[in-house]
């Protein structure tokens, strides 16, 4: 039977990040305002009550500020005794008078502090927790926890086994939505629980040596299609997300989308050996009496009551298991093995487009396949590199915690570009008599299967119409577990002229980065391996090309992200090619060209490795 796990997490933030800014408008800043502290605690109590009323246990993530509040501490102890709630410790909610006085800063995101300050704050916060409760917590978290921080926490406090460690696709899109004022830049991570590697939080551990010792969970369970395109904070299992996105009937206050989102997550059990996960992690700031955005308090409260009621109903029906974070960590360690991927065949449940995408995540990569573009890979993160990427003050990346991409169709264009240049995508073109059709324009759907450790997407065949020939072609995209490879087969099922021949051009346009803006490409090295016909290009924006018949491999080494990406091929008349970009198109292209007849298959492998 499928297991759908939910974590409900509440944090008694005494000075919610945005409550002071919004509810305190027109007043001089005063984070010690009694009214603010009282209301925040009252909201926390309401949220606890709503969860318990629906038979759900919670994880109470005490904040630093709440550790100075006797009532919050007593409440946590009571709820632990009565409801089995876990008393945990959040690294969110640092702001309070005591913190400001001690650290002389208004910074509040733990991953952005210097390593020295991170250590001091962690010791301070964990010490204060111990002082109040007499034990160290088993769970912690923040919107993001960098690898150095996780490693330090685990070394100092081995009891910690679970942490909220990233927020899925909260990056430049969220930054822009907040008028470039919300610095949570953490794209490129897993959307579902994982074991972070010691080297990079976003990249799952491939083995025990890489294991950071904790199970990470994402902050919220987010819409895997809507969040990739739009503001992540509109499309998640936090009911406020749904209200923020205005995804409700303004007259009836109905929001079926919230339930669709939860149900689609439940459906993911089908692709993950019968296991699926959801989490709802809320602070008090959004539920204040003045309302949030356009939503009055009554609607805010209703949305949380409805969300918890739905989880509660699923629990009563035996379709949901509520766990605390530490219970979940134990469950996860039993359920999953290191190289087991997380898979999500996901459909649009909001816009009515019928678009379907597939997300794949394992210790070697995160990839998105877009069926609306013929199975093109539209996002690719090379976790195989296990890129060490320290963040915070004193590092090269004070705020930017995103795992770099090779392909990102929104930031570096995909199939469509404006009149010139190329965008990042892994697709194929079918050519015949001077006509060319890119599979990105062949909309289709996929079916998931798993056999002998290989997860495969079999796409519904597409028809490609040339002036004098119709080709029926099917793509199969496979992910052999534990390899860092993606295998793509193109099969010609039928042709209107069985004797005809078409040319196939399998290509990958890529670059690297974490934002929309181009990076320096000059250290990249392209190569085509073909014995004495081998060639290489050191990237200089000169628009050069090289190719070789029968090439064994084509590749690009990207030193800034310590990644090697390569393609190999099995197919008739194969010719491997590499292409350098130019200033107006700062990309590189790898690919193979070949020929196909009816019933033939053209196969390529894309491989991701850590560059030496």
């Amino acid at each position: 039977m499928d297991q759908f796990i939910v974590n409900i997490i509440h944090r008694p933030e005494m000075v919610p990040e945005y409550a002071e800014k919004v509810t305190g408008q027109g007043k001089a800043e005063d984070i010690g305002r009694k009214a603010l502290l009282t209301e925040s605690l009252d909201i926390f109590k309401t949220q606890q009550e709503i969860a318990h009323k629906n038979g759900l246990k919670t994880t109470i993530q005490m904040t630093y500020a709440s550790l100075f509040n006797d009532e919050a501490v007593v409440l946590a102890k009571e709820h632990h005794e009565k409801y089995g709630d876990e008393i945990a410790l959040s690294l969110l909610g640092l702001p309070c008078e005591q913190f400001r006085e001690k650290y002389k800063t208004k910074d509040f995101c733990i991953w952005m502090f210097s390593m020295e300050d991170k250590k001091a704050i962690v010791r301070d916060v964990f010490g204060k927790f111990y002082e109040r409760f007499g034990f160290y917590p088993e769970s912690t978290g923040s919107y993001y926890m960098d690898a150095d921080l996780i490693n330090f926490v685990k070394a100092e406090y081995p009891s910690v086994k679970c942490a909220v460690a990233t927020c899925w696709e909260e990056g430049p899109k969220a930054y822009h939505t907040c008028n470039n004022s919300w610095y949570t830049l953490m794209d490129g991570g897993p959307w579902a629980p994982w074991i972070p590697s010691k080297q990079n939080t976003h990249a799952p551990a491939a083995n025990e040596t890489e294991d950071s010792g904790i199970v990470a969970i994402p902050h919220l369970s987010r819409d895997l299609l809507a969040c990739y395109d739009g503001n992540g904070s509109n499309f998640g299992t936090h009911p406020q997300n749904v209200l923020r996105g205005m995804i409700y009937d303004s007259d009836t206050w109905e929001y079926p989308y919230l339930y669709n989102l939860i149900d689609q997550y439940r459906y993911l059990a089908k692709f993950n050996n019968g296991y699926a996960y959801n989490m709802m992690f809320v602070g008090p700031g959004w539920m204040n009496k003045m309302g949030r955005w356009e939503a009055p308090y009554e609607l805010l409260k209703k949305s949380y009551e409805d969300g918890c009621a739905y989880y509660g109903k699923l629990k009563k029906e035996g379709k949901l298991l509520d766990m605390t974070m530490s219970e979940f960590a134990d469950f996860y360690r039993q359920k999953k093995h290191y190289t087991e991927p997380e898979c999500a065949l996901w459909r649009d449940i909001l816009y009515g487009s019928d678009k379907q995408i597939f997300w794949y995540c394992d210790p070697y990569m995160r990839a998105c396949v877009n069926m609306d573009q013929g199975g093109a890979i539209v996002d690719l993160r090379p976790y195989a590199a296990k890129l060490e990427w320290p963040v915070g003050i004193g590092t090269k990346h004070v705020q930017d915690a995103s795992y770099p991409f090779l392909i990102q169709e929104k930031y570096r264009a995909g199939y469509f570009t404006h009149y010139a240049g190329e965008g990042t995508v892994r697709s194929a073109k079918i050519c015949h008599n001077g006509e060319e059709v890119d599979l990105c324009l062949c909309r289709t759907k996929a079916h998931f299967s798993e056999e002998n450790g290989v997860r495969a997407l079999t796409l519904d065949p597409v028809e490609i119409e040339f002036a004098d020939l119709t080709v029926k072609l099917q793509s199969v995209i496979s992910f052999p577990e534990g390899t860092g490879d993606i295998k793509i087969e193109r099969k010609v099922l039928a042709m209107s002229d069985p004797a005809a021949e078409v040319t196939i051009n399998e290509y990958m346009v890529a670059c690297y980065g974490t934002t929309e803006y181009p990076e320096d490409m000059t250290s990249l090295k392209l190569a085509v391996e073909a014995g004495d016909k081998s060639a290489s290009i050191d990237y200089e924006y000169k628009c050069r090309e090289a190719s070789a018949a029968g090439a064994e491999a084509v590749s690009c080494v990207l030193p800034p992200i310590e990644t090697k990406v390569s393609m190999t091929c099995e197919g008739r008349d194969k010719v491997g090619f590499i292409r350098e970009g130019y200033a107006f198109s700062p990309m590189f292209t790898l690919g193979y060209q070949g020929t196909l007849k009816e019933k033939e298959v053209f196969t390529t492998w894309l491989r991701l490795e850590k560059a030496d």
Partner: protein, 79 residues
């Protein structure tokens, strides 16, 4: 003219919302209107609500309750 403040609710600019920007508006009580400091939108509460409704045009399946996530026999937003 007195300084602007916050209105009854914390309305965002509907014009900016439609381009994925969350910008709180401020309220001019003398003119009974909300205005955006980032773009050129201004309007009274009724206009804000009307434009918010307009912003929902893209959510074609907003009110559909999905029961199957691989069955595409029903198109898009149809229930």
């Amino acid at each position: 003219m007195a300084q602007a403040g916050k209105g009854r609710l914390n309305y965002r600019c509907p014009s900016c919302f439609m381009r994925d920007l969350d910008i709180d508006m401020f309220y001019d009580k003398d003119k009974d209107e909300y205005f955006c400091i980032r773009c050129q939108y201004r309007g009274n509460e009724a206009d804000v609500l009307e434009k918010n409704q307009l912003a929902r045009f893209r959510y074609g399946a907003m009110m559909r309750r999905f029961t199957d996530f691989e069955d595409f026999s029903q198109e898009g937003g149809k229930t």
